[in-house]
């Protein structure tokens, strides 16, 4: 090696596509979170294909096999009308996942709109929106839901709407915080300085940089929405019977026949627990991995 040249530029190795690289990092650094993510995806799959997976009709009764325990024919047993619990849990998963996803999705959109308006434009707009959010957060969630449902009636669209409002408005605070921090970044300043219009700054600078927060907000809201929907159904304010819901199954047959057929409560109860737990650990892992300050620490 006779010549020594000072490299003006460092050559860096090209990275794998972001999504695959991120998944690998998730598995390596946050195995529990990856496990949660896998379960989440599994339930999503159950929910999407429930119609094809169910071994029996949801409301198909067979009085000869009432309240039978788990067996090869009925993996999760049957209820007091001889309906297959597995089929009902799967259809319940469909409903829970649908409500969870749509409500969380709408909530995230509401959070982004309110948070960006409040955080980016600041001043009087911020003041007005934030005092409204303060007032809103004073109401207990369940109370608001019960009021809404008793006025406009129970049903999937109503529940989704009410849930997305509750979580969307509360979540706007989190979005606002990160919008403010991104707005103060110098690259946003540079964009304004070169004459960029507000829309350009929002789309190219603000939104991409608040995505980590938004993703985490979304995943945690899915879990919360599923849980709240189950709570509503448990109280009899959810989707009306005979549509099977996890909360409805718990409160109806599950509670009544708890001693004669514990599987009736265990099947939907465990599903609910597992899904919400999985989503929460997944969301936690995402938050840790997407936060640059947490890099390197476990």
């Amino acid at each position: 090696m006779s010549e020594v040249t000072l490299p003006l530029v460092e050559v860096s190795v090209r990275e794998r596509p972001a999504f695959i690289a991120f998944t690998l990092r998730l598995i390596r650094e946050k195995p529990l979170g990856a496990f949660g993510g896998a379960i989440f995806v599994l339930f999503l799959f159950f929910g999407l294909f429930a119609d094809f997976l169910i071994p029996y009709g949801v409301n198909e009764t067979n009085l000869r096999v009432r309240l039978e325990g788990p067996s090869a024919d009925h993996l999760f047993g049957t209820d007091h009308l001889g309906r297959d619990v597995l089929s009902r849990v799967l259809i319940g998963a469909q409903l829970s996942m649908t409500i969870g996803f749509i409500a969380a999705g709408l909530a995230t959109i509401i959070s982004i709109v309110l948070g960006v308006l409040s955080g980016y434009f600041g001043g009087k707009v911020d003041m007005l929106i934030q005092r409204f959010v303060d007032a809103w957060m004073c109401f207990p969630d369940l109370l608001f839901l019960m009021v809404v449902i008793s006025i406009i009636g129970a049903g999937v669209p109503q529940i989704v709407m009410a849930l997305s409002l509750i979580y969307g408005i509360a979540g706007s605070r989190i979005v606002r915080g990160s919008v403010i921090s991104v707005r103060e970044n110098m690259h946003t300043h540079a964009a304004r300085c070169m004459g960029a219009k507000t829309m350009h700054i929002l789309v190219r600078h603000i939104l991409p940089n608040i995505m980590p927060v938004v993703i985490v907000l979304f995943t945690t809201r899915v879990g919360a929405a599923i849980l709240t929907e189950a709570g509503l159904s448990f109280l009899g304010l959810g989707v009306p019977p005979p549509t099977p819901t996890w909360g409805g199954m718990l409160s109806g047959t599950g509670r009544t026949y708890m001693y004669m057929g514990p599987w009736l409560a265990l099947a939907p109860g465990l599903c609910l627990t597992i899904v919400v737990y999985a989503i929460n650990v997944y969301g936690d892992a995402l938050r840790d991995l997407l936060d640059p300050r947490m890099r390197g620490s476990r």
Binding site: L8, V9, E10, S12, N185, M186, H187, H189, A190, A191, R192, C193, M194, G195, A196, K197, H200, R204, H205, P208, N209, M211
Partner: protein
């Protein structure tokens, strides 16, 4: 409109600032926000930039250098003053009127990390000014211009599709410079462009700036607190203290014959890289701390720390007046004949060893 105007005679300055003031209100209260005072970040600054020159603006932290830069770019609300750029008075331009002007003046930032969007590829960071001013991101013109700029600032073509976190500080600063040059501006405002870099990289970036200036005929407003860099790069230098300019002069005049006591002290604070000279030379120490900009001293802002202050300094703010050698100094003593001698006389020497 600004683009199609005939070229103004070359002797006219590119940028003239007159009596620029930027005051930030200090408010108290929650609902009825009462103004209880103001921070006079920039308080009557005037200077001009001639075409093709580098004007260094120095001063300690918090003296209003960066605020001046932001005010020129019309990124702050001006309290008073006038800004004339390329012959047009842009002081009261609306944001829409400013848009074509923004093509002509661009900024290079201090922080090479925060000033690049971490979620944009380098190609689009550099091309962003083009996109903002209506060049399609998928057009040939866009791609060609970005490639040209990447080459111009000494980066490699295959770096265009990477993200900022893959680059070192010096490389990021090159990206920032390329972005600032995308629209071929006539004025480049560099706000401490090298203070976040280590020394060997500083030299590379400074040399890049001087090369680019020679090649593109840029006018540069160079803000820094590192005097050796300012001396290296500037044609003329302005010294700021507490929101005011205390002295402007050509580089050699300022560094060889500083007139204002503050300039003298500032230059004296630079260590000499020779231990023998360093041990023998006179030491000038400024006593005390920089007063608060919320409540600056009356008269000359520097008088509480000035070793040669006279009663007049407490009462009356000195005007920035020309001296014999084309410099502008704001000091009562320099302008009254006997004062110059006094400033250069023993007064500074007496403070030696008083610490």
């Amino acid at each position: 409109m600004a683009m199609s105007e005939p070229v103004i005679e070359t002797s006219a300055p590119l940028l003239t600032i007159e009596g620029l003031k930027v005051h930030f209100p200090v408010t108290k209260g929650f609902f009825l926000q009462k103004q209880i005072g103001s921070i006079k970040a920039v308080d009557g600054v005037s200077f001009e930039l001639r075409r093709g020159e580098t004007f260094g603006l120095v001063g300690e932290s918090g003296c209003g250098k960066s605020t001046t830069a932001l005010a020129i770019l019309r990124m702050l609300t001006l309290t008073a003053g006038r800004i004339v750029f390329e012959g047009s008075d842009i002081t009261n331009y609306t944001e829409d009127q400013m848009r074509p002007i923004r093509q002509r003046m661009q900024m290079v930032y201090q922080d090479p990390y925060g000033s690049l969007n971490p979620r944009m590829r380098v190609r689009h960071i550099i091309g962003e000014p083009l996109a903002v001013h209506g060049v399609n991101r998928r057009s040939d013109r866009y791609r060609k211009r970005v490639d040209e700029l990447i080459d111009l600032v000494g980066l490699l073509p295959d770096m265009a599709d990477r993200y900022p976190h893959e680059f070192s500080g010096g490389q990021r600063q090159r990206i920032g410079i390329a972005r600032a040059l995308a629209l071929a501006p006539s004025l480049l405002i560099c706000d401490e462009p090298v203070s976040a870099l280590d020394v060997s990289i500083q030299a590379q970036v400074i040399n890049l700036l001087t090369d680019l200036q020679a090649e593109l005929g840029l006018t540069i407003l160079f803000i820094a607190h590192d005097l050796s860099i300012v001396r290296h790069i500037s044609d003329r230098v302005g010294v700021m203290y507490l929101g005011r300019i205390v002295e402007t002069a050509s580089r050699d005049e300022l560094f060889d014959h500083p007139k204002h006591p503050y300039t003298q002290a500032l230059l004296n604070a630079v260590p000499v890289p020779d231990p023998e000279v360093e041990s023998r030379r006179e030491e000038i120490l400024i006593q005390g701390e920089v007063p608060s900009v919320r409540n600056p001293p009356a008269g000359c802002h520097f008088h509480p720390r000035c070793p040669v202050a006279v009663p007049q300094c407490r009462l009356q703010a000195p005007a920035l007046l020309p001296t014999a050698k084309g410099a502008m100094v704001s000091c009562h003593l320099v302008h009254s004949g006997e004062g110059v001698a006094r400033v250069h006389g023993g007064a500074w020497g007496q403070s030696k060893g008083s610490e």
